[in-house]
Symmetry: C2
Amino acid sequence: MDFATSQLKDTPLDPLVKKVYLELEKPSLNDNTADVDRLIKALKRAREFEHVELLNHDFDSISTTLRKGDFKVTAILTEAVGRYELVGVESGDTSARNYGVGVDIGSTRLAFYLLDLSSGILLEKRSVDNPQIPHGEDILTRIIYARNPEHKEELRRELVDCCNQTIAEMSNDHSIDLGEIYSWSFAGNTTMTHFFLGLNSQNICKEPYIPVINRIPLLSVRNLGLNTNPNGIAYVFPNVGSYFGGDILAGILVTGMHRTEEISILVDVGTNAEVVIGNKDWLIGCAGAAGPALEGGVVQVGMMAKPGAIDKVRIDRKTLEPEYTVIGNERPRGICGSGLIDLVAEMFEAGVLDIQGKINTKLDHPRIKIIDDVPAYVVVFSEDSATGEDIAVTEVDIKILLKSKAAMFTILTIVARKVGLELKDIKRFFVAGTFGNHIDPQKAITIGMLPDLPRERYIPVGNTAGVGASQVLLCGRLIREVEEICNRITYIELNVNAELMAEFRGALFLPHTHRELFPSVVAGL
Amino acid sequence: MDFATSQLKDTPLDPLVKKVYLELEKPSLNDNTADVDRLIKALKRAREFEHVELLNHDFDSISTTLRKGDFKVTAILTEAVGRYELVGVESGDTSARNYGVGVDIGSTRLAFYLLDLSSGILLEKRSVDNPQIPHGEDILTRIIYARNPEHKEELRRELVDCCNQTIAEMSNDHSIDLGEIYSWSFAGNTTMTHFFLGLNSQNICKEPYIPVINRIPLLSVRNLGLNTNPNGIAYVFPNVGSYFGGDILAGILVTGMHRTEEISILVDVGTNAEVVIGNKDWLIGCAGAAGPALEGGVVQVGMMAKPGAIDKVRIDRKTLEPEYTVIGNERPRGICGSGLIDLVAEMFEAGVLDIQGKINTKLDHPRIKIIDDVPAYVVVFSEDSATGEDIAVTEVDIKILLKSKAAMFTILTIVARKVGLELKDIKRFFVAGTFGNHIDPQKAITIGMLPDLPRERYIPVGNTAGVGASQVLLCGRLIREVEEICNRITYIELNVNAELMAEFRGALFLPHTHRELFPSVVAGL
């Protein structure tokens, strides 16, 4: 079980949407309280729900349900600021059947966590491709696509349909009725959140980078178009800014770094690198372009971490022959981000690459070739690949990767320096995102992407967005914690200045021009 | 100006829906707060709106409006329990244009009060027939009609359409855009409130007489189907019980009887007589069948108070010839409630009726006839009536009226006795409803319907339902006062017991078997 999922098990059970079984006094001439008022009165008598308001305005159906159940009913309540809201009511005692869905709205994949909120158990996690990918693998392309209002609506519809389809399948597999699902929670980056809510994303990507909304109130499932119980509610994680979204807030929540004395870093690398550093007293966040090389599309042989992608590579130091594993045990068709990091680290350690990222073409080896005038290393020969072509990494590809890793390391260095720390002072280093799950921290250190800390400080955390989203469903008061994190975090803009450029240039080398920063790497060479 | 309307002028201006003009800081790289958050932040800075929540979830339109108005905007806010809710936002300064509609949802007539909420001025009051009348003049017939769910919806639709049509005409006459109307308030009896909200009314009229809901939360104009600004809100007065509705609570509010040391009575007579007695420390309410004779339909010559109805009658003591006025100065076609009370009082004082309500057939007069074996008095001969037939009141009609007046007096006596008072202890006697506007208290005393108090204690109050509804729009905190009245009022059921029957039998006489209860009447005979 990964770090994030284990946090889910440790979350206190006090769900955002609660079910309370009540046996009401029946109406009589001596107590002719109206039906809906009778329910509210009984709830107020239970001190916990003293301040309860009606969120569900279908008064007739509340009345019918009360009478059908002979005034023995289960009330469904959700916590709001300073009060509870009555979401709905069901005949009889249904308090054991209360389900929720936590969703990571990733730009590449959506992950669904189906939760039994009466027991606190994660019933199943299921991931599916983001259906928007045909409109652009990278998010900027989708923002441009969304300029057209019909396309904006199409992007929204695709996500909602994806949620509906996936949850229909999952609930069917677990013999849950869609009407028994009363709560959803969504964590995604700012743009994905805007897409999901059908909001205008155009101001996100142009100065001064302003989202439509950061703090999103509890939303109605009915209004979102989700097919679960229409009276249900949906929480959407807030954003700190255009480049610092709810997925990272979920990450902070899951790591608990905002509660400890010791200082931690959380890094999430996708197209952007988002970095948070801090502890219970302060939190600093920043984001910067870092990761394009680590996602599919930019590096020629690059691809997403899915079946057919090489995700691990080792190169024999003597023969320079590679060994690799392929996701899904298929014939390889490309290399994913973690595979690329592995590959470059191994090439460097095997002497195929020099510290500038140049391939040693003096080596006489069948795998070292010149392709279109550019030196390259062939990982898979055409006869073994799924494409029928060589899978090779060129110096151009490596340069792109080095820029990404240099950006990552620069961001980390600058952020630490801003708060007067050195990277070695960091006690826990959480690595999140797809990156965090697949990467070998050792290899990322070898290429100088991550600082040379003791390995045990690196904690790959798994899908913190999905787990964080799930946590607030299991424990509603965590919403206040998320809002507090959002309030506390100081977002700093990384201005392209001389200091940053100097850092960046030094970090372009393998592992770094200042080799003393990477003693463990240097020792192994 | 009647009592109620004068209260409207004295209502403090602090509207339920407020408009606040704000000039927001424009976004910059130094302040990249999201659009919606920027608005909320600015409102929170104004201390009054520290606790503000988003009621309007169309975040894109808020963002667009902010940007269209160059971040100079008018926020529209409504007060809720412990917080404000952001209803909407408009570009520029529109704070001077804020309109609301108070509605009396009467079973016979609907009255609309169009209010300018920036100045507090009543722009116009307009009344229209209740469009449900074709489904039954009396409310019970409509409840039976509403058994069929399609009919229930039809009854709802008719009221909503009536509201939409009337307000479209009124706002057009006052050059107001429907989108500038953000608030409605409705006061009606419990059944009319249920019809208006499309709620099941079937349990109202059968033991133990349970409404679907009494305390209605603020509703969305969009959900109600009203054509004014869809983000607007609607307040619906709560009910105390099935036979004690929001119209009476509005009446209490308007009279202010819940605020004074001295004890007042408020009486509203329609098909039912609703009575409230009390002061700032206590309020007792009750309702009972009293008024069928005073509405159209039951008494043969009875009709509603509309054009063609005789509303005032005097009978010459010597010639026994009547003089009368007709609403709309038309040829008469019937007699309305106040006309009937006048007529019976005059017949009694002229010696045409004895104390048992028998017509003195020994009098040889062309107006005293036997019609279908029943003695009768002809008010209008066929040649002068609009129907071409005599308009006459028979002993049967008089018996019905006497039952109604006896019921009224009995309810008043019993209620006063329950609280240990005599009717003469009542300092202010508010007479509400159509009844209150048209009736001559002197004549009602003559027939023994109302107690023989000094005339100046009687205050006809006019349309308190419409005015009360309007008051909460002008001054939102009055909603809390209405809720408190609703909490404080003790509703007592009038059980048909020996005491009540004895009182009732005594009250069936003119003015009463205990003539000492009506000294001023007896003195005049």
